[in-house]
Amino acid sequence: MTFFDGDSSLISNLPAIVVTLPLFASLIAGFLGWKNRKAPYPIAAVALFLTFISSVVLMIQVMSTGVAIEYRMAGWAAPVGIVYVIDHLSALVILLITSIAFVNFIANKSNIDTVFRNKAGAFNSLYLLFTAGLLGMTATGDAFNLYVLMEIASLSGYALIGLGSNRAPLSTLNYLFLGTIGATFYLLGVGYIYIATGSLNMADIASIMPKILDSSMILFAFIICMVGLLIKMAIFPLHGWLPNAYSESANVAAGLIAPLTTKVTIYIMIRICLTLFTPQYTFDYLNTSDLMVWLAIGTIIFGSLSALAQKDYKRMLTYIIIAEVGYMVGGFFLGNRIGVSGAILHIVNDAAMTLALFMAAGIFMWKTGEESQESLKGMFAKMPFTMAGFTVAALSVVGVPPTCGFFSKWYLISGGIAAGQYFFVAALIFSSLVNAILFFRIFEIAHFEPFKDHHHHSSNHSNKGEEASAHDTHEQTIKEAPLGMLIPFMAVSILLVVLGLYSGQIVNNIINFAIPSSIL
């Protein structure tokens, strides 16, 4: 522990380091990418690992002291300057972001090499910038700074998604239009807050809030911030951009962006509602609960039903993501302690589950070269370890104990019952059933159908990966994914169970402190 005690300035600067480390690494990776195609990857990997370590240290620091860390950028105190505030909630989300970015980066080395061959430097830079943007969004205590960082994350996200299949640029352009509308609405909301309070610092605004509860400007700021964020998190009528953008992107990009973007946006929504507008305004004065929970119910039902209609594995996952957004938004707006805990716990769990499912998608793509569910025939025999991990992830999405998905769903359902929102409970159960159907359909294909059919089925496609898969099916032997892909995937699958077993501790020791005491 000499590291912690000896260099206290390093520790006290951690909130800045955790965001600027990926930024510096992206500059260096971009620099070296011009000289040497191989250089950026290890630099980015080391930087992501160090960021992960610093986020762990931050988490330990917050948990051991029990108070939020405030870091003054440029040395200016709260309302004048920009401050970073690391409390239990943001430390948890920071840890989530760094770990997912790191694991996904390690697992997809071969995908990066094949898709972004000549542009490794630019790709690695953008990957790190995306991570830095999300980390900054999570850590910041300033409403406008949040917008700038949101745009960094979005712009790098557009670039990463845009380089996928042939259709990717069009769906990314649509994503860009909606993402820009969402971000600009948020900026407009910040403007309305500024005109009513004269401040940009979240804590400062919250201290002014009780005096201006009935201001129509604040009401409009709340509405337009929420609309902006709901567009960005793809809630039901505003979800149009998500399925195409995620399913047509390269695996490494989807594996980073799909688990993180929507979850971090939901975190931002929770942060804005609790820290900026205060729970008193969000829940008691405006009484938004009913409306938002109904929106969430619509999202859950729509997402689940659409997922049922998909033939393509990755597209199915994107609709599951939309349904899960409904879980978290609904859980948060139940407005009671159990529901909010469930929503926050589900942010963590769902990010891990989505990562596992997209990593599985990456492995399947590597194996078969195509994305349809039909291509998974006989997978249990061919890739037993991968399929074991996939089973854990699928059971977690369905919500089977002891995987983590069960526990967060349990909290959400208990919260729903406590709040008397029985339709929300029904929607959750319905969605779990649909997920069960979805994944057992895949299990059936992958387990029971004989895999000699596979060659026949895929022969009418003519891409390069298909030839490789045809080769594999002839041999009929166990051929697992390379260890570089398999080990991270297995680690995430085990993590899903570990998260489930320790969810009580996570709620008691972290999430309990993250929710203001006024929420009962």
């Binding site: 600067n13 800045a16 500059l27 620099f31 440029a74 972004f116 700038v148």
Partner: protein, 274 residues
Amino acid sequence: MKILGTITILLCGGLLIFFTSDFPDFGDPKSPASIHLSPYFIEHTLEDTAVPNIVTSVLADYRSYDTMFETTVILTAGLACFLLLRIPTKEVTRRYYLHEPTGVTLRFDGDRYPKGSNVFKRIDSNWVPYDIIINFTCRLLIHFIQIFALYVVAHGHYSPGGGFQGGVVIGASIILFAISSNLRASIKRLGEKAAAIFTATGVFIYAGTGALCMVIGEHFLNYSFLAPLLGTDRIMARSHGIFIVEIGVAVAVMAVMIWIYYNLSSAGKQDEGL
């Protein structure tokens, strides 16, 4: 779609206009925005940073962290355009050459170009002759534009201006050169690699200054800890620190404007374009 769009927009617009009735009047000196936070900046900028231009001091000191990410945003955009569009110039095989003694234009497919020839001149596929007036005027103007840009960067402390504005003007001057002659002439003087490295350098100057403050002092971007290095007192150190990061912003903005222009105007080929 159009009717639905119109209805939505009319509704939204009506709502927005309705909500403006509660706004403080335009230019009201007693509005919350004018009395809560901003008086601090106006009254303390000189004693805190010794910079009379309040926009500069807020931009590069009080809210310098925002500005660092503003620089990062354009770096992101430059990288994004590169990643999305760039295709290696080697893969572009069709080229046009002008045989100067006769004025005959030849098209070459494959890579059998007359390299190093005195009589053949490379031209764009949409080449238009007789652009001598535009070319000459722009060549005359560009120097003055660039000197003005340097003035804008350097004088950001005392007059409207600063790194971003100056950087944009320098970038525009080089884009003007590329438009008035051609893309290749511009790339020959400031290549893509140089533009990319300048961009990263600009952001690095900014973020590096911040990290330096953090290493020798206690806060990221707290320039007052640079005082011993710069040999001044803590207030003037802030003023100098602002100038250093403004240079970083100028370099980054200048380079990224050019980089994005190269990629957009040639659709990533960087072989010929506007």
